[in-house]
Structures are given as C-alpha cells and as structure tokens.
Symmetry: C2
Subunit: 277 residues, 2 copies
Amino acid sequence: MTKAELLRQIKAKRSFLCVGLDTDINKIPPHLLDDEDPIFSFNKAIIEATEDLCVAYKPNIAFYECYGVKGWQSLQKTWAAIPKSCLSIADAKRGDIGNTSDMYAKAFFDESVSGLGFDALTIAPYMGNDSVTPFLQQEGKWAIVLALTSNVGGLDFQNFTNRDGVQLFEYVLEKVSSWGSTENTMFVVGATRGEGFLNVRKYAPDHFLLVPGVGAQGGSLADVCRYGMNASCGLLVNSTRGIIYASNGRDFAERAREEAVKLQQEMEIELEKAAII
Amino acid sequence: MTKAELLRQIKAKRSFLCVGLDTDINKIPPHLLDDEDPIFSFNKAIIEATEDLCVAYKPNIAFYECYGVKGWQSLQKTWAAIPKSCLSIADAKRGDIGNTSDMYAKAFFDESVSGLGFDALTIAPYMGNDSVTPFLQQEGKWAIVLALTSNVGGLDFQNFTNRDGVQLFEYVLEKVSSWGSTENTMFVVGATRGEGFLNVRKYAPDHFLLVPGVGAQGGSLADVCRYGMNASCGLLVNSTRGIIYASNGRDFAERAREEAVKLQQEMEIELEKAAII
C-alpha cells in the first residue's frame, strides 16, 4: 500500500486506528477453544467487526511463533483475512545482516515464497544500514523502524546521548531517514513518550509514525495528536488489549467494535481539528 | 546447557566451533532437491558429518521463516536432530516488550508449547531491560545479546559515543551484564572487529562471546583468540558458508567435515596455547 493510498483510507474511514492482533489463547473467549483454529476464529471475528473503523492491522508475530507450525498456519490465515484496503503490518522487530534480512523480506513480503504478503514489517535498527535497506526495495512495502518505544526498558539505550546532546533514538531517526523515504519508511514511537514526539518530529517531520501504547500502556491519544500529527496525518495509532480483549464472552466481537468506535470517533475529531478531513 | 557443561564439551572435543545452519535452498546440492524436505536432509547430513568437531549449531531463523509453515517444519526437525551434547542456538535476533518477549521465550525455549527447545536465542538489545530478561529465567537457557556485530552496517549505531567516550556497544555490554550473569548471558561480537575485542573484554571479561564472521566475512581466528579468549575459553566461533557450502556436489557432507576439521585443529592449538586443555 502506498502512502497516498493510506492517506485516502484515513480520510475515507475518518480514522488512523491500527488494531493489534496479539492474540493469546489464554485470553480469548472460552467458547472458541473447541474451534479447529481458535486463534484464527478470534482474529477473523475481530477483523470483521472492526474493518470499517481502522486502516491497519498488526499481528505481533511472537504470539503466533510461540505455537510453532500451528501458529504459523494461524498467522497465514490471519494475514489472508486482512482486507486489502487495510495496511497489514507484521510486528516482528526483525533485523539482521544484509543477506539474512533479504530472507526476512521474503518471509513477510513475498507471498509466493512464504505464503505471507504483508505490506509492512517492524525492524530493530541496532545492526544498521544493511539490516534495514532490504525492506525498502519494493513500492508499497514499508520498513517500520523502532525509534522511541513505549516499554519501560525503552529508555535503557534509546536516550543514550552523544557529546552534541543527540539521543540515540534521534540519531536513528536521522540516519534511517536518509536511507529511505517517507514512501517506504515509518518509525515506531510509543504513545507513552508524550513530548518526546516533538523531538521525533524535528528529525522526521513528514514520516508516518506507528504509535503503540494508547490504552493499556497508559498513553494519551490527545497528546499523541498534539505533538505528533502532521499535515498528512502521519500517525497510525495502535490499540490492542483495549479492543480485542474488551470482553471475554460471546459478545467479544461486538464489544471490540464498540471500543474501536470510541477511538475512531476521537480520531475523527482530531482529523477535523487538523483540517485533514 | 549450563556453562560448566559447555566448557566440558569444549575440552572433550578440543573445539569451540559453532556451525551455522543458514541453509539456502538455492545453494544446496541439486541431488537433494527431490527429497521431501531438502533443507532438513541437508542439515541432517551436515550435523552427522560435524557433530564430533563442534560444540554448537546455530540455525538462522530467517532461512526457515522465509518458507512459512514448511520452513518452520524444517526448523523443528533440524532442532530435534541437534545432539544434546551441542548447544543449540536459535539465531533469531528477537526483542520486544516484556509480555511479548515472554512469547518469544516460549517459541524458542519451550518444546511443550512450540515444538522447539533451543538452549539459546540471539537478542537485539534496542528495547532494553524487559526485552532481555524474559530469556534469563531458566537454568541452562541463554540470551545471546548483540553487542558489536560483524556486518558493514554494524557501526552505524553501535559506536555512537557518549560524552564520556563510551560507545553504545560498550554501554550495552555494561548494562546487560548487570541484568544477568555469565551463566545465562552471552554477547555477539563479530570476528571482523579484531582489537574491538579488547574493549569488549573490559566490560565482559568472563562472558562467553558468540563470534560470527570468521571465513566468508573475513575475520581471523587467530585475532579473535588473541584478543577475545579468556580462562574458560569464553568463545564460540561460528562458521557457516565456509563449512556448509564447501561443496555443492554429492560430497558436500565430507567436504563440510574437512573444513570443520581444519577449524577444529586451529582451535585445538589455541586451546593448548591458553592451557585450557
């Protein structure tokens, strides 16, 4: 999906919501457990209940990989169930030397090889240029590079600061921006970082940012928009637990939809405030 | 596998060789392509030809993941074929927030959940403490954390330097060392970094280091030992392409063995020089 298509979807749906599909078999409604593939049954119902409200889905690969072959089958079916009108993001945080990153690009982008054709993959930047550039080679495919993450350990290394006062995450933004463009690179910036977005926008004013951490992790949508929105929206705000685990009963999909509606409505107001719609 | 067991294996085999199983279907001997699972056939033959000469095997997960479900099946069989007397390392370079890293720990360490029970997993440190500590919870399991990698892009971020002259990889060594112990943490240090090992050993004198980059990538075993060996050996030196692709013919396993023998013999001399055997 190109940047222009993504923006078109955002305007049409009046939403920049990404729904996280971190589906844990221990948290899904018990009545699904007799299904042949409970994780896929759950995901399919969540997708069907929310696809008009969000512009992206983001399965975290760990939640599939932990079930080995069976988990990989669930992932394949889940990817295939994501509508083509939504950006499909494999949240895998991969990163390796060049020839190995080529293999990861096949794993997540090339359906003819792996059975998976995601639009985007999250990438850990620690190994540098050749760990990122293999994901920037095809139009409509995206590398979403970790910059400033939402977790408690995020600042252990990300605010390591050089003698000019530049923090590691800022240097990552600056360097990685120079390897790709706003058409193939996004950055992960945690919603919990509030004013940190101002620093991020100094280095990446025009990039889309993937923003986890709203909801369960405590980030505020209003703050994210105040500090992070740009003229092309420039934000994909992810919510996982607040939506997919809104209920553990037979009404889980309807309750997920209700939670997605609440976020979509807040987002619509923000998009109007910014005169994007 | 505990550190004491690993050192026992090193002394018994007079080797600290790790064989990389980055098995590319486009590089294996053509006569294997008619097998039901050519990648596994290749790996099994390589393992049987080298298991008395090395102390570890390291499949790089990208080379399996790129074939989706089928690749995961090959990986499972490959892991099961690694003898228990060798350290089995999943070279996956994972790293995510705490609850997700828990899932990755299940994926690679917990056979009852995923079908895989590797001894060790490589980890990218960018996301900090909660991305590493979930892998330090079980005796005999190891987190092998990226410090100073062998690839061309390795220095894009790893030598980002703070106002006290400390480089990022040194700070990673210092911080991560404080989270675990020499019984559950190793570091990745590329063989191409030569005297960089002196800096590494300032921060991690007693840890085992996993050292890729000897052979195809140009690193020297003699240099690695000169600057990196400690009283408990402290090195696992990986070779992949030089061993597994020594021949593309029906003699591939014998030729792989010959290359492994050469490295084992060099390693035996180094272990004797250091009075470890």
